[in-house]
């Protein structure tokens, strides 16, 4: 959270076309306090509270971006991002094409993402697969403070529309050294966060933390390689494929509902490029095809250590 705040602050200091807009991002500093202090520093023309209108936020941002601004728009919660899909699909991702290169849309949409904070209904959804199916946009999924900062700076600077999915569950949960200096992480990047040789576990966003916990619990029973997808589109496929080729076994962890989630796309690619290396079917550990339950049950919905380890056992014993 502080990492994101810092990235915003530094980019705004550096480039005065960068502006922030969204609901409650100004004086209030955002409902997650991500934009804390920025309104005070940059004023009402650069950190802008908007009316309560998600279509307005994204579509007005498209206009701002066309005309030379670099809007960093915020949608307050993942569940409210769906009204934005139309403008992303029919306009943001096409303006470059439609104007035959004359205009482009360098906007960043920040989406606090996923569950696990015991919030109200519609505040805990994982919606990345809607975005990754939209041509012309990029989808970025940081998993912790360090990479969040570098990826956000790259996203803001990227000339194309970027959807930046912030795992809200770890806004405060992960403590990590984040360098003061500015640095970027390219928007085509997956990281092997732990090397291993028996099985590859792939995840992104908040799931990386859970995966690490799960693997820790295995106490070295298997040699697990963990791959963190920092960008979903474009995807650093090579890292994924290389890892699966090496281990021959794979578990994918996704918080979103199972059917047509991003895990399916990964399996399709593994099938296309590493089928012969597979020694077991790739296993998905995912949310279910139901609305995210209210807090009393949401922890049964979100992939947890037990389910991940069961899947690892399954692929290992196949």
């Amino acid at each position: 959270m502080q990492a994101i705040n810092l990235a915003l602050k530094q980019e705004m200091e550096k480039d005065e076309t960068v502006i922030i807009l969204g609901e409650d991002v100004g004086k209030n500093g955002g409902v997650f306090r991500v934009t804390e202090g920025l309104w005070q520093q940059f004023g009402d023309n650069r950190v802008i509270d908007t009316p309560l209108a998600e279509v307005g936020i994204i579509s007005v941002s498209i206009g701002l971006a066309i005309a030379g601004m670099k809007p960093v728009a915020e949608v307050q919660f993942d569940g409210f991002s769906l009204p934005m899909l139309d403008q992303l699909y029919n306009h943001a991702g096409r303006m470059r094409k439609r104007s035959q290169g004359r205009w482009h849309v360098p906007l960043t949409l920040r989406v606090p993402h996923g569950g696990g904070i015991r919030a109200l209904e519609h505040h805990s959804e994982s919606v990345e697969a809607f975005f990754t199916h939209i041509p012309g946009i990029k989808v970025v999924t940081p998993s912790g403070p360090y990479n969040a900062k570098g990826l956000l700076i790259s996203s803001i600077r990227d000339p194309d529309p970027v959807v930046f999915l912030e795992p809200k569950r770890i806004y405060r949960a992960i403590k990590e050294e984040v360098p003061e200096e500015e640095y970027t992480i390219p928007l085509l990047n997956s990281q092997v966060v732990q090397e291993g040789s028996d099985v590859t576990v792939i995840g992104w966003g908040a799931m990386i933390k859970t995966i690490k916990e799960a693997v820790e619990q295995l106490q070295g029973k298997y040699s697990v390689e963990i791959v963190d997808l920092l960008t979903l589109y474009p995807l650093d496929e090579k890292t994924v494929i290389d890892s699966v080729k090496k281990t021959g076994r794979c578990v994918i962890v996704q918080e979103a509902p199972k059917t047509c989630g991003f895990a399916a796309e990964l399996i399709a690619r593994i099938n296309e490029k590493a089928l012969l290396s597979l020694e077991a079917p790739v296993q998905r550990v995912t949310g279910y095809d139901i609305p995210v339950p209210l807090p009393k049950l949401e922890n049964y919905y979100i992939p947890d250590v037990t389910r991940i380890n069961k899947a690892i056992e399954n692929v290992m014993s196949f």
């Binding site: 409902v31 309560l52 209108a53 569940g79 409210f80 919030a119 209904e121 095809d289 139901i290 049950l297």
Partner: protein, 352 residues
């Protein structure tokens, strides 16, 4: 420039002023003493419910909660103008509405504690569940009202939402359908001046919210939302008009959110305490109390009785809420489809 602009002016409708005086006798609805007492008792009950909710939240027994403090007149006054089988399409701040409808308060606590069973819709009541995505419920109300019309029923739909909701496309598209198909729907906008930290002036440049109705070809009314008589009267008129087939009405209840947006919020970050103080003077319950006192239908004893009874009811509800058996994890697969599709059957099995 020639006269080619529109700038009409909307006045605020009031019956009972801040001192508890009737300022508009002609419009004062005919209410029996019991009716007035009922209004008062429900407003007090809602306030006690709300107060305890905040307490339960601080103690971690319920989760994020949205207080209705200050908006009791808007909620109770309007619901009381309805018939039993009329429809209610609420937003998320309408605990006072649910209480007036007779929803068990333990269910409400349960819901705010993150247990979906709490939103079980009371049999015999035509209400939709809490809608969190702002403004998105407005067109549902329009659809239901349209169904009433198509089915030749005489029921009316009332939907609740805030000032922030008027900025959403869903509100616009729904309002526009309502005008075109002249459906029996009453739109109640509780303009409590804030959408979390965003003040009304940043929400829209429109001088009043009520005037937005003009864009859809039907009446917009601005009413003092802390005046339970005015809210009741205006809603009653609108509901009767709708029932008579004369189409929708938009009512802006001018009120104030006295509390934080939700318990996750801290209003001191963005608003002036003096503003809150000013609004305290307009409190809807105080105002009605003064009126009743003037009319001789209020006494210290009565007051005590009302609050004691409210507290007892709420305590009872808290007890019931706390003794509810826990949800079963497998329950999450319930009520998704009429019949579980094989995918979900499999996922459910997987879960076990």
């Amino acid at each position: 420039m020639p006269k080619r602009e529109v700038k009409p002016k909307l006045e605020m409708f009031q019956i009972l002023n801040e001192d508890g005086k009737i300022v508009n006798t002609r419009e004062m609805p005919q209410l029996k003493n019991e009716d007035i007492k009922r209004m008062y008792e429900l407003m007090v009950l809602s306030r006690v419910f709300d107060d305890v909710a905040l307490k339960l939240q601080r103690e971690g027994r319920i989760l994020t909660y949205a207080s209705l403090l200050g908006q009791e007149a808007s909620q109770i006054g309007s619901v009381l103008a309805l018939q039993k089988d009329d429809w209610i399409v609420p937003s998320f701040r309408e605990n006072g509405v649910f209480i007036t409808l007779g929803f068990p308060m333990e269910g409400l606590y349960q819901y705010w504690a993150g247990d979906e069973r709490g939103m079980k819709i009371l049999e015999g009541r035509n209400a939709l569940p809490v809608a969190i995505p702002v403004g998105t419920q407005v067109p549902h109300a329009v659809g239901i009202a349209w169904a009433m019309k198509l089915q030749g029923r005489k029921n009316v739909v009332v939907t609740y939402f805030g000032d922030g909701a008027t900025s959403k496309g869903d509100f616009h598209e729904g309002m526009n359908f309502a005008g075109v198909f002249k459906v029996p729907c009453v739109f109640i906008c509780q303009n409590n001046q804030w959408a979390i930290s965003v003040p009304r002036s940043r929400q829209t440049a429109s001088e009043t919210l009520a005037q937005k109705a003009f864009a859809y070809g039907f009446d917009g009314i601005l009413v003092d939302g802390n005046d339970v008589f005015a809210v009741f009267k205006v809603t009653k008129d609108a509901v009767e008009k709708a029932r008579a087939g004369k189409g929708p009405t938009f009512i802006e209840c001018y009120t104030y959110r006295m509390e934080n947006h939700t318990t996750a919020d801290d209003w001191k970050r963005y608003r002036d305490p003096r503003e809150v103080e000013e609004w305290k003077k307009k409190d809807p319950i105080d105002r009605l109390k003064k009126y009743m006192e003037g009319e001789g239908i209020w006494s210290e004893d009565y007051e005590k009785e009302v609050w004691d009874s409210a507290k007892a009811k709420v305590n009872e509800a808290v007890k019931k809420f706390e003794s509810v058996p826990p949800l079963m994890p497998l329950d999450m697969f319930e009520y998704v489809y009429a019949e579980l599709p094989p995918e979900l059957e499999e996922q459910r099995k997987d879960f076990e």
